[in-house]
């Protein structure tokens, strides 16, 4: 039943399934149609569904994201692709001031079945303006949901859940995950969208991560294990809401918290994870929580500096050891 697919293929199949299931679904964004998407996510769909369902847009991020909001108001289920999250700064008014607020400020008259997908994160030498991470900006917005699939299976599940939901949902994909492979079982039942997943069990330390940092954390955990430290690795899967229970339950056992995020540390997503868990689990903790995070720098073009600006498995290993030494 479960074959191996690439992450982008899982997204592609999810779109295909939903486009086929409901003709209120349409996809819009730059080069999502004829070109098939800059990361191939919409490959083949233009031919199958035509230009009204796979709409190539001009370079007008604010405009076409707002267009998605308008279409959602009348019952369409738009899936907006912002080519990369770097351009989402131009669309934040549509996302924050419109999509997230209309259901509320209309007194509950207008649901908002809008999905905004965007790849982000630090990829390979894309330089300062193309290595953006905005999770903390979006996390602070009541009315939004944020999913951060780290595997093809989650990409498939969460994109389909997002399209079927009447809430405005942001899907943060990672540019370096598109060509990663993993099993996909299309018939398996999806867990709740916001449910965190324990990717590795261990009694000594809880590592909380999301998106691409999950894989790095697992690699670090394997190395820590060689040194006698068994870390639990939790993949958050959702950044709003956060599944506090799964994390807290783990901390009850490990007493040590390490949060790993690619975002720069100060006021990044990890700040809320640390604060929220400290508030909840203060007396379970045997040591101060730690964050391994990006540096307080824009991302340099130079490859070595780029690599040194975001967490590497060795950084996670070092932090884990330090934390367990306390």
């Amino acid at each position: 039943m479960a074959g191996e697919v690439l992450y982008w293929q899982a997204l592609n199949r999810a779109l295909d399934a939903e486009l086929a299931a409901d003709d209120a679904v349409f996809v819009l964004g730059e080069d999502v149609g004829l070109y098939g998407g800059s990361y191939r996510v919409t490959e083949g769909l233009y031919a199958r569904y035509g230009e009204w369902r796979l709409r190539d847009t001009p370079i007008s991020e604010g405009g076409f994201t707002g267009l998605g909001v308008g279409a959602a108001l009348v019952g369409m289920r738009p899936v907006v692709e912002i080519m990369t999250i770097n351009f989402a700064l131009l669309a934040l008014d549509a996302i924050i001031n419109m999509a997230a607020k209309i259901p509320f400020m209309s007194g509950g008259q207008f649901p908002m079945p809008l999905v905004v997908r965007m790849p982000g994160g630090v990829a390979k030498q894309l330089a300062a303006q193309h290595s953006q991470r905005l999770e903390q900006t979006l996390m602070n917005v009541p009315g939004l949901r944020i999913a951060v699939p780290a595997t093809p299976q989650d990409a498939w599940w969460q994109l389909r859940q997002a399209i079927r939901s009447d809430e405005p949902i942001i899907l943060l994909e990672h540019e370096l995950l598109y060509f990663s492979k993993g099993p996909l079982d299309e018939t398996a039942e999806a867990p709740p969208m916001h449910r965190a997943s324990c990717r590795r069990a261990g009694p000594d330390l809880t590592i909380v991560a999301y998106s691409r940092m999950v894989d790095l954390s697992l690699r670090a955990a394997a190395r820590l294990a060689e040194q006698g430290i068994e870390a639990e690795v939790i993949d958050l899967r959702s950044l709003r809401p956060v599944d506090w229970d799964t994390c807290a339950e783990s901390l009850k056992r490990t007493h040590r918290l390490l949060v790993v995020e690619e975002d720069s540390r100060f006021a990044g997503a990890g700040a809320e994870i640390v604060a929220g868990l400290t508030e909840r689990c203060f007396f379970d903790l045997d040591a101060a929580p730690e964050r391994v995070a990006g540096r307080e720098l824009p991302i340099a073009f130079n490859a070595s500096l780029e690599a040194a600006s975001i967490p590497r498995p060795s950084d996670i290993v070092a932090a884990g050891k330090k934390l367990c030494a306390r």
Binding site: F26, W52, R55, T57, P58, S60, G62, G63, F64, T65, G66, L67, G68, V69, G70, A71, A72, L73, V74, G75, M76, P78, D93, A94, N97, M98, I102, P103, F104, M105, S106, G107, G108, Q109, F110, P111, M112, P113, P142, G143, R145, Q161, R164, S165, D166, E167, P168, A190, P191, P192, M193, H194, P241
Partner: protein, 350 residues
């Protein structure tokens, strides 16, 4: 134009004026707070445009949208309740003056960030075009809004994909305190549409009949499948930008000269042939009053008595609206949470 239609236009303009003036009073009394942007002077636009629309059309508006909502048919009491922040308001008291919504009447919201109306209208238009329905989207905005990037982006997309959107510029010549020649390189707003091949016209926005006619023609084009249309209505607001604005940046001469073109005076002249102003009556003396009343008798449409009756009835409507608002309860925190979660369905999300 039929008498009935003419009377309806006049009625709605008078109601609009009375509603807004009363809202101003209620603001002064402390029953309304926040930003309050009023419409007096511009009534001919909302009334002329919306009387040309079908119930199946969609309306998208700004923060200066009470009158659009009123003319679209949201009951005055429900509107006033929203201005009061009460539960029976059209947005449950959660949206307020700048965020009026009414799903049933396809009133798709008042938006308070200048420029948001454009992409919202384009999106509704996209849905209509995709489903090939005979509906149109009417998008209201001011002269100041046309310098926002979303204006440009939405005009391009609606023209490119031939979406059924009617762009309605209420050009009252001011962006708060900045006169149009100080905010736009081209003060003839309709000329902006040429860069997108959207048919555009400039129309006297103080003349409700001209507004109505231009809108009918534009909507007919849209329903014919010819894509977006653009209308610029030249108008004027008699009051400040909002209740907080003393309007010191406009000369008295300017304000007065526009007041002489008050669309309601103009509409009354149209509807009540030879209806004399109080000054005319006074100036003419008793003899000519007799003469003038003859004109009223040949009238076509409405006698002075009927006009007075209409005004009285409007007074009652507005009074009742205030009463309804004042008696409506406040929304609770549970209402607020329910509104936010209105879209939380049964899907496996949480």
């Amino acid at each position: 134009m039929e008498s009935r239609t003419l009377r309806a236009l006049l009625h709605d303009m008078l109601l609009a004026r009375a509603f807004e003036e009363r809202a101003a009073e209620e603001y002064t009394r402390g029953n309304i707070a926040g930003f309050l942007h009023l419409y007096p002077g511009e009534e001919a636009v909302a009334v002329g445009v919306l009387h040309a629309a079908e119930p199946s059309d969609y309306i998208v508006s700004t923060y200066r949208e009470h009158v659009h909502a009123l003319v679209r048919g949201i009951p005055p009491g429900v509107l006033m309740a929203e201005l009061f922040g009460r539960k029976d308001g059209c947005s449950g008291g959660l949206g307020g003056s700048m965020h009026l919504f009414d799903r049933e009447r396809r009133f798709m919201g008042g938006y308070a960030i200048v420029g948001e109306t454009f992409p919202v209208a384009a999106g509704i238009g996209y849905a209509v075009a995709m489903r090939q329905l005979p509906e149109a989207v009417i998008c209201f905005f001011g002269d100041g809004a046309v310098n926002q990037g979303t204006f440009h982006e939405a005009l391009n997309m609606t023209a490119l994909w031939q979406l059924p959107v009617l762009f309605v510029c209420e050009n009252n010549r001011y962006q708060i305190g900045t006169e149009i020649h100080r905010h736009s390189a081209v003060a003839e707003v309709y000329k902006r549409a040429c860069g997108y091949r959207i048919p555009a016209h400039r129309v006297d926005g103080m003349d409700v009949l001209a507004v109505h006619e231009a809108t009918q023609a534009a909507l007919a084009e849209i329903r014919g499948g010819n894509g977006p249309q653009f209308l610029e209505f030249e108008t004027y607001r008699f009051r400040g930008h909002s209740m907080a604005d003393p309007g010191l940046y406009r000369s008295k001469v300017e304000v007065q000269s526009f007041e002489q073109e008050d669309p309601i005076t103009v509409a009354i002249a149209e509807t009540v042939p030879a209806y004399p102003s109080q000054e005319q009556i006074a100036a003419a003396g008793p003899d000519s009053i007799a003469r003038l009343s003859e004109h009223l008798n040949d009238a076509g449409h409405l006698s002075t008595d009927q006009l007075e009756a209409m005004k009285a009835e409007i007074g009652r409507i507005v009074e009742q609206a205030v009463e309804f608002a004042a008696n409506s309860p406040e929304p609770t925190m549970a209402d607020a949470v329910a509104a936010l979660e209105c879209n939380r369905g049964t899907e496996v999300l949480i």
